[in-house]
Symmetry: C2
Subunit: 163 residues, 2 copies
Amino acid sequence: MRMTKGVEWAVHTLLNLAWLSDDEPVPTARLAAGHDLPAPYLHKQLQALVRAGLLESVPGARGGFRLARAPEAISLLDVVLAVDGDEPLFRCTEIRRCGSVGAACPDGSRAFALPCAVKTAMGRAEAAWREALATQSLADVRAETDAHAPSVASAVRRALGDG
Amino acid sequence: MRMTKGVEWAVHTLLNLAWLSDDEPVPTARLAAGHDLPAPYLHKQLQALVRAGLLESVPGARGGFRLARAPEAISLLDVVLAVDGDEPLFRCTEIRRCGSVGAACPDGSRAFALPCAVKTAMGRAEAAWREALATQSLADVRAETDAHAPSVASAVRRALGDG
DNA sequence: GAAGAATTACTCGGATACTGCGTGTCCGAGTGTAACGGG
DNA sequence: CCCGTTACACTCGGACACGCAGTATCCGAGTAATTCTTC
């Protein structure tokens, strides 16, 4: 029950693009060098972000990736779902219907008409998690970092800017 | 980013024990037959629940497992952490310090003194998830099932009771 | 018939293989750039 | 000197191996019930 590390890479990479704030596309190699990440694998994650509509890819020479929307319009939930997929944390396989317990229910169709209570309980918790992720945007995280560590923004522009 | 299926098995098994409500220990084989689960693997999950203090194991003939606490005192968070471990969903590897971006921060020790904003944002969401799991007890799920499907309780007693 | 000891059968507990997904990598298709030649 | 063509270098895009955690299983240690023997 753990998130893939691609999520961390994706969030930091999107943050770096948000700090650059110009429309110049940045190639994978420079983004990967920004945090010493393996370029091919990061590239794979970036493709997922493109498919999810969070990034725009520019092909050809001097191409690369840029944000497809404003940082205010990209939530952490968007990033997590884009990289890790949108499957629920808890997958109900309806084992309540199986085995001797399931068979001992005389009115199976009526007893199992409503959703499994375990599934709904887990779903409530997951909804709270998603809500908390959805209400935090990339711009919020950027603002929090700017408040605590103002030197990071200029460091990103110095390290990743194409000047 | 998915929960192990052992969680579903553990919750349903604990629920069944809560429905039985007597102090007779139930062996693994009968619990597994209740939902057509592979007995050896379920046995492994039950051991994890014993280590976490949610179940009591009774060795020897006519032995088995029984709840170690009242269903009201067992939260869904307890079950999830017992089976899947208590590692955080999001693991921050501090990549912000690495690479050209990390090196470009002139005052590294000051800029990175406070926790990573990405980590704290993810931590807020995870805290909401844990809170929602912690406030739902096994007794709550049992009550919800009793309200929606009253026949399940008697079915469990009929299928798993040692009568 | 009752008490005691040995036997037996059943249970938990931990150690051991197998599989699927996350992790890491590679090469081909496509495009913009730049150089080069001709007008 | 300007324009069109050609070649090139760089980028994204998807397809291909590897390792570890989740999945599944087995056998040994320990205990309570049972049975047999003896008084």
